[in-house]
Amino acid sequence: MIQYFSIVLMLVGIYGLLSQRNVIKLIAALNIFEIGLNLFIVSIGFVKDGLVPILTSNNESSAMLYVDPLPHALVLTSIVIGVGVTALALALAKKMHDKYGTYDMDEMGGK
């Protein structure tokens, strides 16, 4: 179910990119897309009845059933990349606003 939801979230992001023209909304749409994607990646690592992949004094043996730790690591990377891109996009948006006085892509003109 959560996996379906994550794909739907990605689609919402794409919808946002398709229908919006405000720079900030576009960035938000990109983020929604990324969040959906990240959720999807985490969800492919889930193993039914699996434990959190950390050895603790309770789950102390590696022989127990854990969920797949690799997607978590991937998502970590993906999130950080998302943060970086978002920061850059916001900086660009700010700069564009300084220059054109608007956040609307259509109003910025040009070919």
Partner: protein, 481 residues
């Protein structure tokens, strides 16, 4: 061979980038050192190359750790990339100020894109190089195109990651070779199930490789970019991404017939449409950027046909000649305030040496004999015919006519003054400027000579140059030195 050089190709520029933030004043020296090191290291790697090496980062054997793969293919890639990168950096060094760090990072990332043997790592490096490209393109006057690029690039890499995740889910591995092996041992057909991930990966890479219709960002970003940014994107970035594209197609793309057809339609469509678009353009840089898009389409189409060597030759030709052409186009644009062809009649009269470089590159681009492009084109056609493919050669040749027409228009206009119906006179070129930069002139001359030499020497030396396998040439020719 000291295999550590493989990782140092990435680690040294990265380290240089980190350090140059610390000591800002030394930034350009760090960048220069990194570029120099990479040149030397790729030279050493090529010199010592015997057989493919897999470098296990962290000491974990593949497929568990991330591995870098140095085979003929990536060796060719890093040689090409580092040389081109170094030349561009030297030619356009006046724009580098403040962007040294970004360039170092881009250098590391592009080397990573070529070398990596891991899907997710490929994504990471693609993303780093893309972000570096976004930042570089903010040098342009109009940053809204950069935003455009950013949105598309991010969406594209998101789709790429989506595809990688699906692949991981299906095969349980991220190592490209391992996935290939796992596919090979499956006894039932896998092509049908791979449609989704392959289409997504294809889309993701296409955005950066500038295939139509994924390359909407390219025009805005490149049409008034300077000789650093524009040249880097049309030659170095595009080379690295196409090489990664080729590697994935070669190893992962188990395509159903219909998927192959769709991919081929996209790539060949890119070739045709972009050449037509280039034909309709009147500005130097726009012509070149569309031509670059078209060549990307051709390269990917050849990879899809399984013709690795031919695709690589086209790629090399395109990268080297685009480097010269775009640098000069940007320079002409900057010196004269416009890069509109109509306003630049006879501009090369001001600087004939640069004009010759431009001409050699342009003629190589359209594949005229005695230039390297012809060797590439002949190889493409021979290998296509040997694969019993008749229609693709036809398309390529018809498109070549269009390409030739606009390139010749460019050349004749840039060399000759005078309105239509009047004799060309040298005095009419007075108002132009094409300043002479020693570094630029030297590099362009050397590159142009290399293009001509690489077009003539094979004819004189190899009896089967039209079947030239560049990958084995690298092992036999360079490894055996």
């Amino acid at each position: 061979m000291n295999t550590s050089f493989i990782i140092l190709l990435i680690a040294v520029p990265l380290g240089a980038a980190f350090l140059s933030v610390l000591v800002k004043k030394l930034g350009k020296y760090f960048l220069g050192a990194a570029i120099g090191f990479n040149l030397a290291a790729s030279g050493i790697l090529a010199y010592d190359y015997v057989s493919p090496v897999i470098y296990e980062i962290g000491g974990f054997k593949p497929p568990y750790g991330i591995s870098l793969v140095l085979d003929e293919y990536s060796l060719l890639g890093i040689l090409l990339l580092n040389v081109v990168f170094a030349l561009i950096a030297i030619m356009a060094c006046k724009y580098i100020k403040k962007y040294e760090v970004v360039l170092s990072v881009a250098l590391a990332a592009l080397n990573g894109v070529i070398l990596t043997g891991d899907l997710f790592n490929l994504f990471v490096f693609m993303e780093i190089s893309a972000i570096a490209a976004y930042i570089l393109t903010t040098m342009n006057k109009n940053i809204k195109y950069t935003f455009n690029y950013l949105v598309l690039g991010t969406l594209g890499s998101g789709l790429l990651l989506f595809g990688i995740a699906v692949i991981y889910n299906m095969f349980g591995s991220l190592n490209i070779m391992d996935i290939q092996n796992r596919m090979a041992i499956i006894s039932y057909p896998v092509a049908g199930a791979l449609v989704l991930p392959l289409a997504l990966i294809f889309t993701g890479l296409s955005v950066e490789a500038k295939l139509l219709p994924f390359s909407g960002w390219a025009r805005g970003v490149l049409k008034d970019s300077n000789s650093l940014v524009g040249t880097l994107i049309v030659s170095a970035f595009s080379a690295a991404v196409l090489l990664a594209f080729g590697r994935l197609i070669d190893s992962l793309f188990v395509m159903s017939d219909s998927l192959l057809i769709v991919f081929t339609v996209v790539t060949v469509g890119t070739l045709i449409l972009a050449e037509i678009a280039a034909f309709s353009k009147k500005n130097l840089r726009e012509i070149l950027l569309f031509s670059s898009i078209a060549q990307s389409g051709l390269v990917v189409a050849l990879f899809l046909q399984g013709l690795k060597s031919a695709a690589l030759l086209v790629l090399i030709n395109n990268v080297i000649s685009k480097m010269i052409l775009f640098t000069l186009a940007a320079k002409i644009g900057e010196d004269n305030g416009t890069d509109k062809l109509e306003d630049l009649k006879g501009v090369f009269l001001k600087n004939k040496v640069l004009g010759f470089g431009f001409t050699a590159a342009a003629m190589s681009l359209i594949g005229l004999p005695l230039f390297f492009g012809f060797i590439a084109k002949a190889n493409v056609l021979v290998s296509l015919f040997e694969a019993n493919n008749i229609w693709l050669p036809m398309v390529i040749l018809i498109v070549s006519v269009i390409e030739g027409a606009y390139v010749v228009r460019m050349l004749t206009t840039l060399w000759n003054t005078g309105e239509e119906g009047e004799l060309a006179k040298a005095e009419d070129a007075k108002q132009y400027k094409l300043t002479n930069k020693v570094r630029l002139t030297i590099i362009i001359t050397i590159a142009a000579i290399a293009i001509v030499a690489a077009g003539i020497l094979p004819l004189l030396q190899m009896n089967d140059w039209f079947n030239f396998d560049i990958l084995s040439f690298l092992t036999d020719g360079l490894g055996g030195v």
